[in-house]
Symmetry: C2
Subunit: 379 residues, 2 copies
C-alpha cells in the first residue's frame, strides 16, 4: 500500500530569480517537513522533468538533485513529456509495491523562463512526433486547435463552452496562493484574447511556467491518503495516425483500468485534477475519463457541475491554465492538490471536509501517454 505522507508545491509563475535546483530543493524540503520524515529515511528519489536538457543544457537530473541534497540513494530521471510527473508518481508507487523502498521522494520540476518563447515552443514540440509533426511546423497549440475544430464540427461544441473551462479554472485558481494567475477572468476576456491557433486564443492555453512540486510516498500509514489505483496507457504519438482525433484513447484506457482496479464507479469520485493544457483538453478529458458521454463535454462545463459549488469540482488548484504548467511539475502537483483536499488541509480553497475519492489525470503530448491515479481517504 502506498500512502501520500506529505506534499509541497512552490509558487508557480515566471520566477526569474529562481533556478531549477532551488525550486526542486524548496519543494523537497517542504514535502519532507509536511510528511514529518527526515531525508535520511528516504530510500529513492524520482525526478520528473521534461526539458532541462534543451532549456538549461542539463541532463542527468536525478543525479543533479541527489547531489544538491547530498544523498546517495538511487535517483531516477523520468521523462514522458507533460505526463512526466504522473509517470514518476506511478513508478515511485511500483517501487514501494516491489518492496525495494519504504519512503520515496517524487519531485516534479521545470524551469522554463530562461529561454526565448520560440525556444520553449521548440522544446515543447519534442513531445510530439518530431519527424512527422514538429518538423513541419506543428506546435502544440496547433495540434490541439485541430482537435478543437473537429470536436466542434462533429459534436457542435461551442467556442463559449471552451472559454468556460478557462473561466472555471481561474475561478478556482483565484483561491490558490501558489497559482501563476490567482485571479478570475470572464468569458468575454477569453473570447477577446489574442488568437494563438484558431479557435484557441491566449486564454485557452496553459502558460509557460517555472515551478516544482514534491510528494513523499510511504509504505507505512503516515497519513490518511493512499493511492488505490495507478494506470497508464499509450496511444500513437502523432495525431495523423489516429482514426478519430476527438478522443484521447490513452485516457479512455487508463481511466477504465484505474476504475476497474479500484472497484469504483465514476460517481464515486468527489474531486478531480485533470490535464487542461488547452481548454479543449478539459472537454476531451470529461468525456474520455467517463464523466460525460462522448460529445457532451461541452454541456458538462455549461452545467456548472465541475465548477465552484458543483458536485464534481475539477481542477481546484486552478488547473494547468490558472495554476500554471511547469511541465515536469504538473503531474506531481495534481497528486499534491488531491492529497491536500482529501486530508482537509487545502486552506482557503478547501472544497469540503467530506471528500473520499480523488482522481488525477495527466497527459503527455497530444495523448501519446495518459496516466490516471485514484486516491482515497482512509479512516
Amino acid at each position: 500500500m502506498t500512502y501520500i505522507a506529505g506534499s509541497y508545491t512552490t509558487k508557480f509563475g515566471e520566477l526569474w530569480e529562481r533556478d531549477l535546483r532551488s525550486l526542486g530543493i524548496e519543494a523537497i524540503e517542504g514535502a519532507l517537513k509536511d510528511a514529518n520524515i527526515e531525508l535520511k529515511d528516504i530510500d529513492a528519489l524520482y525526478v520528473a522533468n521534461m526539458a532541462a536538457s534543451r532549456l538549461s543544457g542539463q541532463d542527468h537530473i536525478g543525479s543533479l538533485i541527489a547531489s544538491e541534497l547530498g544523498i546517495d540513494v538511487p535517483a531516477y530521471h523520468i521523462e514522458s513529456a507533460c505526463a512526466s510527473g504522473g509517470v514518476a508518481v506511478r513508478l515511485g508507487h511500483l517501487d514501494i509495491l516491489s518492496g525495494e523502498s519504504k519512503n520515496i521522494l517524487v519531485l516534479g520540476v521545470e524551469k522554463m523562463t530562461d529561454i526565448s518563447n520560440s525556444g520553449v515552443t521548440a522544446a515543447l514540440s519534442g513531445a510530439s512526433d518530431e519527424e512527422w509533426e514538429a518538423f513541419y511546423g506543428a506546435t502544440f497549440p496547433s495540434l490541439y486547435a485541430m482537435i478543437a475544430r473537429e470536436h466542434m464540427r462533429k459534436f457542435g461544441t461551442t467556442r463559449e463552452q471552451l472559454a468556460l473551462c478557462s473561466v472555471k479554472n481561474h475561478a478556482f485558481g483565484s483561491k490558490n496562493p501558489h497559482a501563476q494567475f490567482p485571479f478570475e477572468i470572464t468569458t468575454e476576456q477569453v473570447l477577446d484574447a489574442s488568437p494563438v491557433a484558431d479557435p484557441l486564443g491566449l486564454l485557452d492555453c496553459s502558460p509557460i511556467s517555472d515551478g516544482a512540486s514534491a510528494i513523499v510516498l510511504s509504505k507505512e500509514k503516515k497519513s490518511d491518503v493512499k493511492i488505490i489505483s495507478s494506470a497508464q496507457a499509450q496511444d500513437t504519438i502523432s495525431l495523423h495516425k489516429r482514426n478519430d482525433i476527438t478522443e484521447l484513447t490513452a485516457t479512455v484506457k487508463a481511466a477504465n483500468k484505474a476504475f476497474h482496479s479500484a472497484g469504483l464507479n465514476r460517481n464515486n469520485i468527489d474531486i478531480v485534477e485533470l490535464h487542461d493544457c488547452f481548454s479543449i483538453a478539459e472537454i476531451l478529458a470529461y468525456e474520455d475519463l467517463g464523466f460525460a458521454k462522448k460529445g457532451e463535454g461541452g454541456k458538462l462545463i455549461e452545467s456548472g457541475k465541475t465548477g465552484p459549488g458543483g458536485s464534481l469540482p475539477v481542477n481546484t488548484s486552478g488547473g494547468l491554465k490558472a495554476c500554471g504548467h511547469p511541465v515536469g511539475a504538473t503531474g506531481v502537483k495534481q497528486i499534491a492538490e488531491l492529497a491536500s483536499q482529501l486530508s482537509g488541509s487545502a486552506g482557503a480553497r478547501q472544497i469540503s471536509k467530506n471528500l473520499k475519492y480523488g482522481l488525477a489525470h495527466n497527459v503527455g503530448g497530444s495523448g501519446g501517454t495518459a496516466v490516471v491515479h485514484i486516491l482515497a481517504k482512509v479512516g
Copy 2:
C-alpha cells in the same frame, strides 16, 4: 524473481542510413524472437535514451517507441546519462518485483551521428554539472583526464597501463560482429594516437555511436539466467565537490550493496561487463568494484587476468571502447552480453560453458550515478 528471457543487440557504429526508430524496433523484434515471447504478452516498455532531445529534437521517447510498435501498455523513458540503460533494467526489474508486470521490454537506444561532433560533445556534457563544469568548457574527456592525472600522481599508474585497457577491449571486441571496431589494436597505436585531453588520446576514449540493445525480463522462468541483485547509488554530479577524485564512490556503494544482497564474494564472479568510457574508467572500476585494491587497478590490467584467457574476463563484448557507446544502449547491452555468455550463446566470443555469475557495471556522468547488476545462471 526476474529472468532475462531474451536479448538482441544491433550493430553498433556510424550507421548513417539508420534512425532511432528503426534501431529500436530491430532490437525489440530481435529480443522478442530470442525470448520466444509475442509482443501482445508484453506488459510494459522501458526505454533508455540520453540525448534524443538535443540530438534529434525528440522527447517522449517511450511514447515514440510504443507508437511505432503499436502497443498501448505503459511506456517509460528513463534518462540517467550514460547509465540510462542500467537504470532502465533496474526499474524494469522493480516493476516485475512489484507484481505489476509479467513480461517487460527494456530497450536502450541512441542515435548520435546525425549531428556535428561539437553538437554531440555539448549534448554529452549535459551529463555533468552544466552550471559548474560544462559552462566553463569542461568536456567529458577533460573530466576523466583530470581523474587519470590524479590517479597517476597518487598511485603511480602508468600511461601504458591505461593503454592496455583499450588493447584488451579491442582484443575481445575483435570477436564481436556487432562491435563498432571489431579489430585488434596495439599498445603502440594507443600511445601514438592523437591527444584528446592529456594523458588520454583518441584510443583511450569510447567512440560516438549509433545502436540499440533490448532485453525481455520475465517473472516466469523462460531462461536459465536471472537477476540476483540490482543496486544503484549516487554521488555528487560534479568532480569538484568530491574529496577524492580517484574513486567513484557511487560504484563502491552500488557494488557493496549488490554483493551483500546476492550473498556473494568478488571471487564468485566469472565474467564482468564494466563501464570503460575512457581507459582510466576501467582502472577505477577494477578498484571500486573490489576486484583490485585501491591504486592497484593498473597492476590488474597488466596481469592479463581480465583479458582473453584470463580468469576474470572483463568486457567480452569489447566494452564501450571497441563495441561502441551508443549512450542509452550501453547499460542494456552489458546485460545482454552477460546473458549470452551465461547461457552459452555468445558464439565466437563465448568464454566458457561453465560461467555461473556475471556482473554488469554502468556509470552516469563522471560517477554521479552507478548501477551494478549481478546475474546468475540457474540449473
